[in-house]
């Protein structure tokens, strides 16, 4: 039933959240979150540690169930009960902890849960597809038949990203996709995000790296303590963004900047 949902036209909503809350016991991890991601749009989700970014991603991935609120996917109200359901609908996720099985090889991890010909696994076809995907990401993976345990953090991250692309999703969520990546691989991931956007998919990216965020995001949604705290464009000033993220114009980042500026002035004054 859900598999028939078609990709909405560019500019239409892929996913729309209204009033989504998530409580863990007495802790409200998310409170009344509003979020709208349109087809062909990259939305960056930023916020301090503990702002609720990863929780929100897990709600959308079907890992956690929201305590209240509604989620519309491609114009239909849906409930994302299990990760399998979210995947089948076309929501692919790269989790911060990557969620890979270390005892399985790269090919097995890429196709996990969606193997080709379930009753007589087609290893050759899967391996060819794996190499093609990894090539697109400019991955430097020595062998796809080694267990994930033997790969470096960056290589694992590439595998996790490749896996999200495998099922032709409509919405891709990347939780800190470039955290462990090298220079070339980061550029490839950013290129990839742009390619995916141009194909008309919705993209949600979480990152602490403002440079990456500004490079690809169409909108920047700020979360603070589990609540919406403003929507910005990539052209917004750093000052505005940081005060939205930290919740005050007077914060540790601005204080540090002021101090550095003061020191520089003093230094210049002393020299003159």
């Amino acid at each position: 039933m859900t598999a028939t949902l078609s990709l909405p036209a560019k500019g239409q909503s892929v996913i729309r959240l209204s009033g989504v809350s998530k409580n863990f016991g007495a802790v409200s991890a998310l409170t009344d979150i509003e979020l709208d991601v349109k087809a062909g749009e990259v939305v960056a989700l930023v916020g301090d540690n503990g702002a609720g970014k990863s929780t929100l991603v897990k709600v959308l991935a079907g890992v956690h169930q929201p305590s209240s609120g509604t989620i519309e996917f491609c114009g239909q109200q849906v409930s994302l009960d299990t990760p399998a359901k979210a995947l089948d609908m076309g929501i692919a996720t790269v989790f911060q902890d990557l969620a890979l099985c270390e005892n399985l090889d790269v090919v097995a991890n890429l196709f996990l849960g969606h193997e080709m010909s379930p009753w007589a696994l087609d290893e050759v076809a899967m391996e060819v597809r794996a190499w093609t995907l990894l090539r697109e990401l400019a991955a430097r993976i020595p062998s796809v038949r080694e267990p994930i345990a033997s790969l470096s953090g960056g290589q694992r991250q590439t595998v996790a990203i490749a896996r999200s692309l495998l099922l032709n999703p409509k919405l891709i969520m990347l939780d800190e996709p470039t955290a462990a990546l090298g220079v070339a691989q980061t550029a490839e991931v950013l290129n990839l995000i742009e390619r995916v956007r141009d194909r008309g998919l919705g993209v949600i990216i979480i990152s602490h790296n403002m440079e990456d965020v500004r490079a690809v995001a169409d909108r920047i949604v700020v979360l603070r303590l589990g609540k919406n705290n403003g929507v910005f464009t990539p052209k917004s000033s750093n000052q505005d963004l940081i005060s939205a993220i930290t919740g005050a114009t007077d914060n540790s980042v601005s204080r540090r900047a002021d101090r550095k500026a003061g020191e520089a002035q003093e230094h210049n004054g002393g020299a003159a």
Binding site: A61, A99, N103, W119, V124, E127, V128, S150
Partner: protein, 414 residues
Amino acid sequence: MSQNPSQPMLDRSDERVRHDDSLAAVAKGFIDRVRSGDLGMLPVAVGLVVISIVFSALNPIFLAPNNLVNLLFDCATVGVISLGIVCVLVLGEIDLSVGSMSGLASAMVGVLWVNQGWPIAGAILAALVVGAGVGLLYATLYNRLGMPSFVATLAGLLALLGMQLYILGPTGSINLPYASSLVRFGQILIMPDWLSHTLALLPGLVMIGRGLRTRNQRLAANLSAQPMRALILKAAVLTVALEAAVFYLNLGRGMPWMFALFIALAVILNYALTRTQWGRSMFAVGGNKEAARRSGINVRRIYMSAFMLCSTLAALGGILSASRLASSSQQAGTGDVNLNAIAAAVIGGTSLFGGRGSAYSALLGIIVIQAISNGLTLLNLSSSLRYMITGGVLAIAVIVDSLARRSRVSHGRA
């Protein structure tokens, strides 16, 4: 190699990886794997050689063909149970009640068939269904209530044993008729020589056939393939070894049908674990349950399938042991059956920590365990000594598993 050198193979474009093409390099790769803690079947091979030397020195009858035939009969009963243990161990779980389950199944066959006059097939089916039901119960306790399988099956060990004693009643033992097909299957039925020799050719032929097909597919897809010589050499060694074993057994009574059934089950389970989506999901859940769940695998169903398969195979093992002993008694399934089944899987290379294992580990492991047990019996040792020695062997097997795992982690092959 007919490859265009300007266009490297898909999986050969990274210059950091050493590729083992020649036979010497294949051997070197094997040594590297063992050194990194990926022991595979090595402990079994070493164990069998040591056991053969020690016991045949103490009592030459040990290696006599007919003693080995008896050994294989005994292997089949606990071996089938051990196949089920492999399934739960791959998930990193355990079933401690397989011995009691097998005892209950053997009692059910005796009571329903001999005492109640059910048709034999009906009695066997009922025992298997009860086995599946017990597995379903464990899975439900685990999935819904979060009860650790260790505790749930420990409770099951006692409960099932109680049920076995209850249905056997005060007589405590039921003799199965000697002329029946079930008892003949467990004690007498032997494969004809020509058939066993023919079947011994099969694994090698299948290996070459499948190897060639995979090789062609891989080369067509621009992937590297196993060198031809290695493939043929492996198949030849396997065939010679199997034919020699069958020839030696045929000097005595020959290959028991019951052991053939066990091998067939092991082959089927191996296929299911390595070549189907279900098997891939089993290893994924055993390796990282949460990752498996997020990949869309129905983790609960995987647990259910494993526990049900384990209990059902335990019931089948109990039925086979009833046919082997021609009786259903209070002693069936007690004593060392539980530990032997678990030890066999671990000795064969299935990890207690989940995510690693193979159906053949049960096949090879049980031969080691039964060889020890058989050798000690030939020496007329009391069961007190037998238990102590078997316990020691199990401890060594687990130590080897733990050390190998530590080494694998440090070599990045967990």
